[in-house]
């Protein structure tokens, strides 16, 4: 990784990227009702301004020899050997994310103006959204793992607040809690990784850590890689922490589009790409990334086939597509650019799909059950066309975005040349077929066939403030892949970060791969037509189904596994400790008392609060302490 020179010119103003939305959030959340009338406009303006600034900085930095600049912000702690400075790193990788976050973010902000128009909490919504953008920008711009961690927690908080935005719905509150807990599990991994860096290297700055990676022992490196992967899995909804993401769809749809599709959930991919110098040294951790990616892409694709809730299908699709990105970055240098290109194009088409889903829900009075849709193509034509383009891009229709970027990942996997390469490539191709199946099913159920609406529904097209962002994202869905692969290759732009893109040695001719992938996807489309399109759609999901379908409907029992592996033992442990505290110690006292002829009347009473119990506890502790000390001294 090239060392970044101190920033000059526009890049030195990179802190403004974060400060603008942060200021917006502060004003919106603190100003109270006074800001209700203009709050949403301010929210859009700050993000839009950040986007323009991001573009200018990108142009400016592109002219520098190393295409990167370091911005020193302030010294957080500097005392003795403890030295934590806060700074920003503006380089091609962070700029790619800045443009995605602020660009797609601006469109979604604008869309939200229309989507949330009738919600009494609109100002609060924009405040949280701005807070999210600021935290996400800090996450990608920070120049150390600690700065990244602060942003990481910040986006977690914003995501939590936004999932629970309609907190009066119990489902939303539960989903928020689930997201929070699963993210905590991941965060512990990241926090431990940071502590390991501190302990071993005494620094957490990217420059410092990556500069001395080679000094670390192999075991430590592997541990670091696995801990970082755990953090990435939590944030990105990857196996085994995937099940919070579909539940997070309880939040308003623009949130699903921005946070749970385009940006925040890809933070795990960013983390692994950023930590490339660590993964380059540890094949074990890298193999774990590959395994997580391949497994999750299948889990997501299978579960996506079985759900009837339009947003949950899209959410499982997100889980699956991020699995592709993990697979790509797990491949090492050949995969980084491919994975990140897919991340960017996915940002476009998945955000577009979610906004389209939001537009459909808007038309149908917040209905999300696809069995209650049908025949909407003519009622909401703009939504249909934009959604359709996003759909084609996602399933890899030739020459749209997904075709370029997903194929690049599959090719990179096959190019490994060994058996594992074939397995991973095969899994990825199979996933593409499943993707085509569930997305076609979604299209057919929603837009084609007969209307299965409830009586009170009168579908109507959304206002321009919502359709214009959808159109722009559809344009991106169509063209971004071509641009990023052929016109202005992302691999070249990222060269200062990941080194010169290696000339690929193709094991299987790319044209053949493309043909096979397209054929498999076409098979998926046809299968969806055969199973769904030509039949009458029942209004409720059929109960008598094969075990495979049942497993898919239950998301392959991830929740059940989590419950029995973690939640139940956790509850059991808590209960056991409480029991010991309340009854066990007390019971022992009572037993003693009875044995010594005292009253046994209290036996069995689950009451605590007796001084003699406490005193006995202390005495026991004191005996243990004295015994332990003596043992240590004697031994």
């Amino acid at each position: 990784m090239a060392e970044a020179a101190p920033a000059e010119g526009l890049a030195a103003a990179a802190w403004l990227l974060i400060a603008l939305p942060m200021a917006g959030a502060a004003v919106l959340l603190l100003a109270g009702r006074r800001a209700d009338r203009w709050g949403h406009l301010l929210g859009c303006a700050t993000v839009l301004a950040a986007f323009l600034l991001g573009v200018l900085i990108t142009v400016d930095v592109a002219g520098l020899p190393e295409r990167s600049a370091a911005v020193e912000l302030f010294t957080f702690i500097a005392t003795g050997s403890l030295d934590v400075r806060a700074g920003l790193l503006v380089d091609p990788l962070s700029l790619a994310f800045v443009l995605l976050i602020t660009g797609v973010g601006s469109l979604i902000h604008v869309y939200s103006v229309g989507y949330m128009a009738h919600d009494p909490g609109r100002r609060r919504f924009f405040g949280y959204l701005n807070l999210f953008v600021a935290a996400m920008l800090l996450l990608v711009l920070g120049d150390s793992f600690v700065a990244l961690y602060v942003g990481w927690e910040g986006v977690g908080l914003a995501s939590y607040l936004l999932i629970a935005f309609w907190y009066r719905r119990p489902a939303a509150a539960t989903a928020a809690k689930k997201a929070f807990i699963m993210n905590r599990v991941g965060d512990v991994g990241l926090a431990l990784a940071i502590f390991v860096m501190f302990a071993q290297l005494g620094t957490t700055s990217f420059e410092g850590v990556f500069g001395s990676v080679e000094a670390l022992a192999g075991g430590t490196l592997t541990a670091l890689g696995l801990l970082l992967l755990l953090g990435a899995c939590g944030k990105s909804g990857q196996f085994p922490l995937q099940s919070w993401l579909p539940d997070a769809m309880e939040g308003p749809t623009p949130v699903s589009a921005l946070i749970h599709a385009a940006t925040m959930v890809t933070a795990g991919v960013y983390l692994i790409a950023r930590a490339a110098p660590i993964y380059d040294q540890t094949p074990t951790a890298r193999a774990a990334v590959l395994a997580v990616g391949a497994l999750t892409l299948m889990i997501g694709a299978i579960a996506g086939c079985a759900y009837d809730d339009i947003k949950k299908v899209l959410a499982w699709s997100t889980v699956s597509q991020i699995g592709y990105m993990f697979l790509a970055v797990g491949l090492g240098p050949v995969g980084y650019a491919a994975g990140l290109a897919h991340l960017l194009t996915h940002g476009f088409f998945k955000a577009g799909l979610f906004l389209g889903a939001g537009s459909v829900m808007h038309a149908m009075g917040d209905q999300v059950d696809m069995r209650r849709f049908g025949g909407l193509a003519r009622k909401v034509p703009i939504t249909f066309v934009t959604f359709g383009l996003g759909y084609l891009a996602l399933i890899g229709f030739p020459f749209l975005s997904g075709y370029f970027t997903k194929d690049a990942i599959i090719e990179a996997a096959l190019d490994r040349g060994d058996t594992w390469g074939l397995v991973l490539g095969g899994v990825a191709i199979l996933g593409a077929g499943l993707t085509a199946f569930y997305m076609t099913r979604l299209m057919l159920l929603t837009f084609a066939g007969k209307a299965r609406w409830t009586d009170d529904q009168h579908p109507h097209e959304s206002p321009p403030v919502m359709t214009v962002p959808m159109i722009l994202l559809a344009v991106g869905s169509v063209g971004a892949g071509f641009v990023l692969v052929s016109v202005a290759p992302l691999a070249d732009w990222l060269e200062p970060v990941f080194g010169e893109p290696a000339e690929p040695e193709h094991v299987i001719a790319p044209a053949l791969v493309a043909a096979v992938v397209t054929a498999v996807a076409a098979a998926g489309v046809v299968a969806a037509w055969l199973f769904v399109g030509r039949r009458e759609v029942p209004l409720t999901a059929p109960a008598r189904v094969s075990p495979v379908t049942r497993a898919a409907r239950n998301a392959l029992y991830a929740d059940t596994v989590n419950e029995s592996l973690f939640m139940r033992p956790g509850q059991w442990l808590t209960r056991a400790l409480v029991w010991v505290d309340n009854r066990g110690v007390d019971g022992a006292v009572n037993g003693l008392a009875a044995a010594f002829g005292g009253s046994s009347s209290r036996l069995g009473r689950a009451q605590t609060g007796f001084v003699r119990t406490y005193a006995l506890g202390m005495l026991g502790g004191a005996v243990v302490v004295a015994g332990a000390l003596l043992a240590v001294t004697a031994g």
């Binding site: 809690k177 431990l192 502590f195 808590t574 406490y614 004191a622 000390l629 001294t633």
Partner: protein, 516 residues
């Protein structure tokens, strides 16, 4: 034995203690001779002058390092830093004592604690407009005892200080105006168990004296350095540690904490949670570092184990609490465990690092301010029966009083150790010091425990913000000036120590010196 010579007394070095104890004595005189009508403002002024005067004189002494009073007191960097923290937190607690706007009875304290509960006289005094003013001198004595505790260089002085700080606390925990039986029960429990713990301490003192022939910490150190593993000395150390861990509410010596924290008047709970914790750890640090610094490997495994027990017990049992005061009590137990993680790192001090000592001192300051503020918020939320501390009563508080909910939210986030609050900086410093010292398994447990503990803090935030307010829920009182000042100071400090902790960490680093 030689001739008895008068010990050297450096009055300047003793000034902080003299100030505080002097104010306490003046308070007693005011109580005896002052006119009843305006005793409250006079007592408040005396107590504040005493504590703030103590604080100022500590600040003026900054940079000193000497042993005085015939070797019984050590006025060094660590003592002065912790004395300043105690005096400052003590002044804030006294402000909480003086709050008159919240309770319809104009005070959190009962007028005569000796009146039987439910008797005609009790009903009479519930109506009377008189307020309790003896709490001010009592609290001032306790603060003085704590400051003496932090500076004691001699086991006997340490014991005297322990009693001076404890006795007033036993009394004022029983003086709650509402739920008097609970309060009296708490006071009796605290007294009985405190006496038990003092017994341990005293027995340990006797054993150490028996082993070394001295009660001076430096003599013990010298003996331990050559004598090595003496059974008497080791047993003495064990019992001393037990006595101190009781005061610091470290599990398994924590059993009194939830009951007493819940029963005592909330301002007193705030005082105990903040100041007693600082004082107890000041003594723990001095005992382990000065007296037993050379036999580090004797106590290290023990403190290691106790730290783990305390963190796990505090974090796990905190999960099931439904009363906020009890929840904060278990939080206090968990935090005691985190502090011990820093104490472990004292071993790193020998090669000039000393980051264990300085980070522990910083943690004490940060935790004291935050917990004091959190208890202060508890005094604001009330229903007809006094403070509403049941968790369910806090549902939807953000809609009733966004400011109160936001302030409580900040304190809870700090207790959970979320970045940009003082709690994060403190944990970060302490964990780092422990890792430097090679205690990474302990830090692993600590990180996991704080992840578990974060759950119950955040649960309160969720409840405040994302639940529908209960019908006939509690009201949020508008605090008077004293509580407002205390809240403003603690909130500001919690945020400043989180965002720009540099100068204070620096100060703690420079103050991390023990003489003696």
């Amino acid at each position: 034995m030689g001739d008895i010579t008068a010990p050297d007394l450096s009055l300047a070095a003793l000034a902080p203690l003299l100030f505080v104890f002097g104010a306490a004595c003046v308070g007693v005189l005011v109580e005896a001779f002052g006119p009843r009508g305006n005793r409250q403002p006079v007592q408040l002024a005396v107590a504040l002058v005493g504590t703030l005067g103590g604080l100022v004189s500590v600040l003026l002494l900054a940079g000193r390092g000497e042993v005085t009073a015939g070797g019984a007191l050590a006025v060094d960097g660590a003592a002065l830093f912790l004395q300043a923290v105690i005096a400052g937190l003590g002044a804030l607690s006294i402000l909480l004592f003086a709050e008159r706007a919240l309770d319809p009875a104009r005070s959190a304290f009962v007028t005569s604690a000796a009146v039987p509960v439910g008797s005609p006289r009790d009903r009479e005094q519930a109506m009377s407009p008189r307020v309790q003013t003896e709490v001010y001198p009592l609290a001032t004595f306790a603060i003085g005892g704590m400051m003496l505790f932090a500076a004691s260089n001699d086991l006997l002085i340490m014991f005297v200080a322990l009693e001076v700080l404890s006795l007033p606390l036993y009394l004022i925990s029983g003086m709650a105006r509402r739920r008097r039986l609970l309060s009296q029960e708490a006071a009796v429990k605290y007294f009985l168990l405190g006496a038990f713990a003092s017994g341990f301490f005293l027995y340990g003192l006797a054993l150490v004296y028996g082993a070394t022939g001295s009660i001076r910490l430096s003599d013990v150190r010298a003996y331990a350095a050559v004598g090595g593993a003496d059974v008497l000395l080791v047993l003495g150390l064990a019992l001393l540690v037990v006595g101190l861990m009781f005061k610091a509410s470290v599990a398994p010596f924590h059993t009194w904490t939830p009951d007493v924290y819940q029963g005592a008047p909330t301002p007193v709970t705030a005082f105990m949670a903040a100041c007693t914790k600082v004082a107890a750890f000041a003594a723990v640090l001095r005992l382990l570092y000065v007296a037993f610094g050379t036999s580090e490997w004797t106590w290290r495994p023990l403190v290691y184990g106790i730290a783990i027990v305390s963190m796990v017990v505090g974090a796990v049992l905190g999960l099931t609490q439904t009363d906020l005061k009890r929840m904060l009590a278990y939080s206090s137990i968990a935090h005691a465990g985190f502090l011990l993680v820093g104490v472990i790192a004292l071993g790193a001090g020998s090669d000039g690092g000393g980051s264990g000592l300085s980070s522990t001192m910083f943690y004490l300051l940060a935790y004291g301010l935050t917990t004091l503020g959190a208890f202060a918020v508890l005094t604001l939320v009330r229903d007809g029966d006094g403070e509403a501390t049941h968790l369910s009563q806090w549902a939807g508080l953000a809609q009733r009083s966004p400011l109160t909910a936001a302030i409580m939210g900040i304190f809870l986030l700090a207790l959970a150790g979320i970045p940009l609050t003082s709690g994060f900086t403190g944990k970060f410093a302490v964990f780092r010091a422990a890792i430097e010292d090679g205690a990474w398994p302990l830090v692993l447990v600590a990180v996991l425990a704080s992840a578990v503990a974060a759950f119950f803090y955040v649960r309160v935030i969720v409840l405040m913000y994302f639940s529908a307010p209960a019908e006939e829920g509690p009201t949020v009182g508008v605090p008077g000036l004293p509580t407002t000042i205390a809240l403003a100071v603690t909130v500001t400090a919690t945020l400043v120590l989180g965002v720009a902790p540099g100068p204070v960490l620096d100060l703690a680093q420079r103050a991390a010196i023990f003489v003696g």
